[in-house]
Symmetry: C2
Subunit: 177 residues, 2 copies
Amino acid sequence: MSHRRILGIDPGSRATGFGVIDVLGHERHYVASGCIKTPPGAALPERIRVIVAGLIEVIDAYAPTEAAIEQVFVNVNPAATLMLGQARGAAISALVLKKLAVAEYTALQVKQSVVGHGKAAKEQVQHMVVHALKLSGTPQSDAADALAVALTHANHSHAALAGLVARGFKVRGGRLV
Amino acid sequence: MSHRRILGIDPGSRATGFGVIDVLGHERHYVASGCIKTPPGAALPERIRVIVAGLIEVIDAYAPTEAAIEQVFVNVNPAATLMLGQARGAAISALVLKKLAVAEYTALQVKQSVVGHGKAAKEQVQHMVVHALKLSGTPQSDAADALAVALTHANHSHAALAGLVARGFKVRGGRLV
């Protein structure tokens, strides 16, 4: 089986979390994680520039072979929904520009995959991320969420699927589309 | 006065209109316009890839010196608002990746600038675009809207402002930010 390195993304208008893991059979190894913060009060194009440039830097540094991004819930505040959509569009732009296949997972799928049930609290998800990747400390919240998305993709996508992804097929929610 | 070439964008989840004009003092000359259509039914990452790749192709082909994009109104349908936000985020990603300063204008500002009042119908805007650029026919709707955004930016941004933009300052709604 070829080496797989997954970049997980937790998109947000103020902070975009990222987490990189290696998948070796049933083993998952932590590579890197962090958070790209957009300058508060900056105009939208500048915030989008920071997200795109930041993620391209991460991809160039860690060379993931595939990517997964959390599907965002629709906010009750329409302006906030639009802003979150723009930030998520910028994050996906960076991923597709670097020619990564992009899988999408809902928060429910992430909780079910990482904790085992869909009603898990945020702290439980973080605890399981620390456990699964044998981390010595708890990563910052957005980074932990991004690592959870990467772990979900590792769990969903089997070896056969990974092979298809490598050959250019598209996967959504762990399924081919 | 240095040569200015403006790329106007009308963002949308199904179609992204673009329009390129040259500004020479008070003259405006049509350069190009068109519409980038996203494949219906395709997964979001693929739609975003089409928008980003399409706009980068336009920028490489016509080499605009600055860009302007319409601010979208918040839809009553939250899922549609999120989708539109993601498409707009992708469009702005392409502009900032190609290092263009990006100005934003509301639909109201575009109507006021191109027609003279904010209650103008869509057809009036298209008519004025045809008139101002001496076009022999009416462009497709999204392309006409994008040309209107470019004309609005030409009208709002004075020579001094354009000089500042060229030196890396940010402009929003025709004003420095």
